[in-house]
Symmetry: C3
Subunit: 362 residues, 3 copies
């Protein structure tokens, strides 16, 4: 359903600078936007880029207005305090979700008679719900998901296809787990006895708190005793590995291919960029940010951005990288200095001899 720039401004309780009747048939990011689409800039600094784009209509923040003149702008502009927020509303308008069709419990799902399933919960064909499982209301259990015996799942959770919960897992409310992720496999622990690696049985569970989202092909191992825990509101990307007995704080962001060994703990609002690795028993403080590929082998205070392996505060790592780049020329320089020193030594020796000869002469 197409709109005009004025329609959009009205919806956002704002007004249009420029042509109010410009048609808007869709929303797109700046790089892709066409003249009949609306785009946005998040920051006034991006206004030049916005004005150069092909978008017909732009959402801009108040600070960008002063940078616009009639001569540099042929677009319709709508000024809002949070252009990204407004843009996401418009995107939703142009991409109406299909009304979800309730399927209830499929006759082709395998639900143990002792399982308890909440109201309005969908269980798709080929899903397997084992003995004693409890699932809350309004959940969607996609095809092939396997919920091990005795697991408990709260309300409004979504398990995408082939998610596996080993027995005894605990998910709170509004937990989303993407396809082929595995929650609760045994921790990786062995004792070496007479040359054999003998398995340490893992009796614990995984507790996933409210509003956690977990990507595809991610693995979170059960603890030895007690629980591996993912704190409320944390978001975990695809192909992340969380070892046994980890205790992840609230509102963490863990990007793809991050690996945590056993018993790692994090504070709240920790961010790990892609491919970060953390050794066992390490604690990472509140609000720490670990740059991509960081390797962490000891506790890190919070509130600091780290880079590199071993993880080091950002500015220090950058100094090291810069110094390393100039290391070959430093080596050359040191060789030059060495030569100069030898020359000085030689000169000095010469001069001493000269002095002596002079003295003798004298």
């Amino acid at each position: 359903m197409p709109l005009t720039a004025l329609d959009v401004a009205n919806r956002l309780q704002s007004t249009v600078l420029g042509e109010p009747n410009r048609p808007i048939t869709g929303a797109a990011i700046l790089e892709d936007a066409a003249p009949d689409q609306i785009a946005y800039i998040k920051d006034a600094k991006k206004i030049a880029k916005g004005l150069e784009s092909a978008a017909g209509t732009l959402l801009i923040p108040p600070a960008a207005v002063e940078k616009v003149t009639e001569s540099n702008c042929d677009k319709s502009l709508i000024v809002v305090d949070d252009p990204q927020e407004a843009f996401l509303q418009l995107v939703a308008h142009f991409h109406p979700e299909p009304t979800p069709v309730s399927i209830g419990i499929s006759e082709h799902a395998f639900v143990a008679p002792t399982a308890k399933i909440g109201e309005e919960t969908d269980i798709h064909p080929t899903a397997v719900i084992e003995d004693g499982v409890e699932i809350g209301a309004r959940c969607v259990i996609h095809p092939g998901a396997v919920i091990g015996r005795g697991s408990r799942i709260g309300n409004d959770c979504v398990l995408y296809p082939h998610v596996v919960l080993y027995p005894g897992m605990q998910l709170a409310d509004r937990v989303v787990i993407h396809a082929c992720s595995v929650i609760g496999a045994d921790g990786f622990g062995y004792r070496q006895i007479k040359g054999e690696h003998v398995k340490i049985p893992h009796y614990g569970t995984v507790i996933i708190e409210d509003d956690v989202e977990i990507g595809a092909c991610t693995t979170i191992d059960r603890s030895f005793l007690g629980a591996t825990r993912i704190g409320r509101g944390s978001k975990i990307d695809n192909q992340v590995m969380i070892g046994h007995n980890c205790n992840i704080g609230r509102h963490n962001i863990l990007v793809s291919h991050v690996g945590f060994a056993g018993s790692v703990s994090t504070g709240d609002y920790v961010i790990c960029a892609g491919q970060v690795g953390v050794a066992d028993h390490v604690h990472i403080g509140d609000g720490a940010v670990l740059g991509a590929k960081c390797g962490v082998h000891k506790d890190l205070p919070g509130g600091v951005t780290y880079l590199g392996t071993p993880a080091t505060p950002e500015s220090e790592t950058i100094r090291q990288v810069m110094a390393l780049r100039k290391l070959p020329e430093l080596r050359t320089k040191v060789k030059e200095l060495e030569t100069q020193i030898q020359q000085l030594q030689e000169q000095l020796r010469q001069q001493l001899n000269d002095d002596r000869s002079q003295c003798s002469a004298a």
Copy 2:
């Protein structure tokens, strides 16, 4: 069915140097080959290794002939322009594939009535094909594969067990996806609002062009709007992560554990070795080669081989690594120079005093 060296030479329109009647019962790589097997060397430089091997018969390139004499060779040799190509033909001869059995649409698959399935396409038990899906001809959909509603798949595609396509995915012709890979999970995007990470809905799709092969347990996320795209003929290994809105060029090679953050784009013929990581919005030019474990945080021109983190042209990285190895001894050297300078300073001071005393004496 065993052959002689002469049989093989005839098939390859070549002739035999040495014993023509040597029996060949199989093909093997050089390291594993036995006297009744045929092996190959790709390059004339490997002729010594070939002659030392236990293989009874060798495929060699023309340039290798001059390095062979009666005294150093007890094998049957067959000279061909492309020994690897010839070898692969023979391997195929000795490993006849079982005739594929057409199973059609299994009665134990779950195919929505609104789905359209092409001719000679097999759909195995426990596969799930949702509403509005279209699948072309001669495809094989293995057990447990889940094709989300409205997805479109071309001709001659193979989806191995448990491959998951989220709704709305688009696969062209001859696309192969190995087991447990997930195409189209939500991009990893959140906005922080009042201390919560609020999900940015992802409305886009994934477009996989002709002749793309994707390994096992690989994940390719859907875009925010528009499409994440994998260009024609690109080959992606196991456990690779491609973030939302990536635009991968044609004929790329992405090795295992490579991770691309959101909106990465690559030119054609880009190669990423294992465990490479690329930050969001980076562009990598045509024909760039990223060595294993490269970390990329900014655009890289094509046609260059890069190593290290941050990714740096190969020769530069090697210089840095070499210099780093000698850094401890450089530190020692600088300390020595420091001492020598102090000695020089001391000597010079001494001499100056001596001069002065001499002067006074004089």
Copy 3:
């Protein structure tokens, strides 16, 4: 079923130091233990930590006894030679496993008529067993596992949900594979012909020897010819990638996100910590230990601990890292030396002039 300290001591053929009637209702690791629980210290050096803990009863090694006095200890102590072993026994006592319920071959599993299934083997709903498969006795094949045609599995194996064996795989006895792992996908090999990457067909298999355990979402590719092999007793964590034609020795430990390219071979008792990457055709010797994130591009002798990329013996890497940290200050130092040398040169020149003037004067 609760015990007293004396009960436990009797079971372990030991005696109690301190209160023998202290009730023990469970076992916990030291950090988590409560007064009515038993914990352990592995090493006498940890005795102070043990005595400070909240645990009511402690298992300690003989060497720790002399460090305990009545005044520093309010706990019940039980002295045993191997406290960890004793602790694991007690944990098992307090966590009785539910008696496994034999389900036999589920009527909702898809078992080809030509497959042979051993005694007391369970095959769960939605598992798929293809033509000609042979499975030994007392195995458990969980929901969604897919066993490709002609594969052979020994006795007492466990395949967790959605494990995929491609056709022709070979598992020995007591092999455990966790959920969503994929064994036998095609090796990642292509030949570039006229600008296209043409697939090299892979005819080989994967052989997994006795007592191997493989984590979740791990991939092990089939070989070109012959077999990719995992040696007896090796333990592989989640999300590990083993390329085609690898030959892994016995009793290896490969931690999460380790990636081996094609044709890598390892000796026995090799340990790779998390996120290690090894290039193709590399051999790693017996007992080598690769620290987390090591990058290996050439053969490494056994019996050595390596760190870094390129992998370097531990002490050497640590020296390099230390030197790198001080590199910025080394640069500063070299600049200082340069200045000092210039001053020396200037002084010397000056002095020479002075001498000459003196000479002239004389």
